[in-house]
């Protein structure tokens, strides 16, 4: 298992490199640059801007420079400055030497900000939203699915599956506007837009405002985003558990006189979780990208708006930064899924 994890880590690096090359190539292949405007800038101005951001270098050079700044820790004796080109995510001081790492570069569009500023200010909000949506989806989905399977063909089953079909049929762009109008505008129960937490964050992403001040903003978007995923989890849990309880080893477990509760929790549940775990990877990806629309509808100042605006603005460092970041997230999530897989089903071996 240890060897497997190490191998996967190495392979993660390969994935990130491939993702970065594809993204880099594709975004430079899109016609127009970060400084093309409807009313064209003077050629001299563009030349100066391109020189300043090294856009006049050959492409491979730009790529190597970028990856060098992002991936390789730099050891210098000069302390970090306020310069935009010099903003690193990780600054560690050991004696007189600084170890500086992950410089994602400046944003071309918002001239006073770097990609790291976006990571520091906006990413935590998306992470809070995504985490809460994930919690919503698991804590609603799994119990619902288990209940429906154990009480198959009873009112609980029909009710649970009815609710979950409804949940899977209403994506955020449906549920969002309805929530905003119903609870925000018509009933005035919750603020229709906004977010409760502001920087600085505890441990880099946890909100420092807690209680109602945080949750009154977070409840609607978290449920709107998480409900669809919870329905998928519920359906899968039910289908899988129904299949598992018909397996021979469950019959064996019952035959040797185990208590029904033990049969279900120890034998059936653990094995039925395998398909559910498989779906957690893509589900997580869906939640991550789903935060984007959710943020647009609920007016949440997260990373979402940088997704599309960076591409339409040809804001190269922001495109690279956001895509690399999400790629790292997803690769780690997939790794976690694979590890859980092996834990749940000892027949699956990775060595």
């Amino acid at each position: 298992m240890g060897r497997f994890i190490v191998r996967r880590m190495l392979y993660m690096v390969v994935v990130i490199l491939v993702v970065s090359i594809i993204t880099f190539g594709l975004m430079h292949a899109i016609p127009g640059g970060p400084f093309s405007r409807e009313k064209a800038l003077p050629a001299a101005t563009i030349k100066i801007l391109e020189e300043r951001y090294h856009l006049d270098d050959p492409l491979w050079r730009q790529y190597v420079d970028y990856m060098n700044n992002v991936l390789i820790p730099h050891i210098t004796t000069t302390p970090p400055s306020k310069a935009l080109a010099d903003d690193c995510l990780v600054n560690i001081k050991i004696g007189k030497v600084w170890i500086r790492w992950m410089n994602f570069g400046p944003s071309f569009k918002s001239r006073a900000r770097t990609v790291n500023d976006i990571f520091r200010d906006n990413l935590p909000i998306s992470a809070q939203l995504g985490t809460m949506a994930l919690l919503v989806s698991i804590s609603i989905g799994m119990p619902l699915g288990i209940l429906a399977a154990l009480k198959q063909n009873t009112i609980w089953d029909y009710l649970g599956m009815g609710v979950s079909i409804l949940g899977v049929s209403v994506p955020v762009i449906v549920l969002g506007p309805i929530f905003v109008w119903l609870f925000g505008v018509a009933l005035h129960w919750l603020p229709p837009t906004g977010w409760g937490a502001k920087p600085p964050y505890f441990l880099g992403f946890l909100p420092t405002t807690l209680g109602w001040d945080f949750f009154k903003f977070a409840i609607m978007p978290a449920i709107a985003l998480g409900l669809g995923a919870s329905a998928i989890i519920a359906r899968l849990t039910r289908a899988s558990l129904l299949q598992t309880v018909r397996e021979d080893y469950i019959r064996t477990a019952r035959a040797k006189g185990l208590h029904e509760r033990v049969v279900i929790t120890r034998h059936a549940l653990k094995n039925s979780m395998i398909p559910v775990v498989t779906i957690l990877g893509p589900l997580f990806a869906g939640l991550v990208t789903g935060t984007f629309v959710t943020e647009l509808i609920f007016g949440i100042p997260g990373m979402g708006k940088y997704f599309v605006t960076s591409i339409t603005n040809r804001d190269y460092p922001v495109i690279m930064g956001t895509i690399l970041l999400y790629a790292v997230f997803l690769v780690i999530a997939n790794l976690a899924v694979d590890i859980m897989y092996a834990y749940l089903d000892p027949r699956i071996r990775y060595d």
Binding site: Y11, V14, V15, I16, V18, V19, I22, T23, L26, A29, I30, P31, G32, N153, M161, I165, L166, V168, S169, V170, P171, I173, V174, P177, I178, V180, W181, V185, A186, P192, I232, R235, A239, L242, Q243, R246, D248, P275, T278, G281, P282, A285, V288, T289, F292, V293, L296, F307, V308, I311, T312, I319, T322, I323, Y326, A327, L330, V331, N334, R347
Partner: protein, 341 residues
């Protein structure tokens, strides 16, 4: 849930009833499907939506693109009683059953035409993802070992690519390159084709490029677990060929989960299109897409909720119908759940 009694009470060793009369999987499935109330409701709803999409020019009371600027944001009387917050400022015009949008287009007619977009995606999406995903996943899972390792590494790499971002990047690439392609090149043909389809072609390309991975993984996982079963071993010992084992023994056994997954995915394709149109990268305006309409409506959500909520309801009903049908399909096609009450 199927209500009929098993044809035979004899049970095989695995608890699966042995059918006396040999029936094809498909026929058997259809028979079960027809007895499932939920799937009949879903299928009828889908049929109605298909009819609406086909006969859209007859049902819509106005052309979907005609703008009457003086009528912008007008609402009909019954809407004001449903959304009482609009009372103080709403301008009444009963020409528009669901109201007019921000440039005075009839919302009802646009929703009717919008069914065409969503349905096309609903039928093309599964086709693409099943075709690529099942072939890829079953080869990978069946042969296992090095082949499997290599093929799954490729999927992993593609998987790590945030698919929606990938589609956005591709769409941005094609949409902004459109004017730059020279006549005669492949890019030019693609762009012209896309224009002819109202911007749908690149949405299909995007869905096709990303949706098959999930299907491939699922197929592979299912094949991996099924190929260790005794009946596959038995087939091997009587000298069945790889292809025969794959198609006669393994595929029918994994069909259930695949169908369930694919029907779970159809609403996903519909909402992907809606999502792309929502952020402005979907179909070309003025082609009416529910996602684009929700996006337009969301801007004035506080003043004119009808403009976002009705397209949202249309989207939800369509997805609901497909989910309902999918649920029925699962009960009908999953051999593992056969004969269980």
């Amino acid at each position: 849930m199927s209500q009929e009694k098993p044809i035979s009470k004899i049970h095989g060793s695995s608890g699966i009833p042995i059918l006396k009369k040999r029936e094809s999987l498909f026929k058997d499935g259809i028979r079960r499907l027809a007895k499932n109330r939920a799937s009949v409701v879903g299928a009828s709803l889908i049929l109605i939506i298909i009819l609406i999409a086909i006969f859209a020019p007859l049902i819509a009371i106005k052309p979907f693109a005609s703008q009457v600027l003086v009528d912008q944001n007008k609402v009909s009387e019954w809407l004001v009683s449903v959304f009482p917050t609009m009372k103080p400022y709403a301008q009444i015009s009963n020409d528009y059953p669901l109201g007019a949008d921000y440039v005075g287009r009839d919302l009802f007619s646009r929703i009717v035409y919008g069914a065409r977009i969503s349905l096309t995606v609903a039928f093309i999406g599964p086709f693409i993802s099943l075709l690529i995903g099942v072939i890829y996943g079953s080869i990978s899972g069946y042969f296992g070992g090095r082949v499997d390792n290599f093929m799954m590494r490729i999927v992993d790499i593609l998987y790590a690519f945030p698919s929606l971002l990938f589609i956005i990047l591709l769409l941005a690439f094609f949409r902004s390159s459109a004017a730059h392609f020279q006549p005669g090149t492949i890019g030019y043909i693609f762009v012209k084709f896309d224009e002819a389809l109202g911007g749908m072609f690149f949405i299909f390309v995007g869905i096709g490029l990303t949706a098959w991975e999930t299907m491939a993984r699922l197929t592979r996982g299912q094949v991996l677990s099924i190929r260790e079963k005794e009946f596959v071993e038995a087939a091997h010992t009587i000298g069945a060929s790889n292809l025969r084992i794959m198609f006669r023994h393994i595929l029918p056994n994994i069909l259930g989960p695949l169908v369930v997954a694919e029907t779970l995915a159809i609403p996903g394709y519909i909402s992907t299109e809606a999502f792309l149109s929502f952020i402005g990268l979907g179909v070309n305006p003025p082609t009416p897409s529910w996602g684009a309409m929700i996006s337009d409506g969301a801007i004035s959500l506080r003043s004119y909720p009808n403009q976002a909520i009705f397209p949202a309801l249309a989207l939800a009903i369509t997805m609901f119908a497909f989910n309902f049908l999918g649920d029925g399909l699962r009960d009908a096609l999953d051999p593992r759940l056969r004969g269980t009450q």
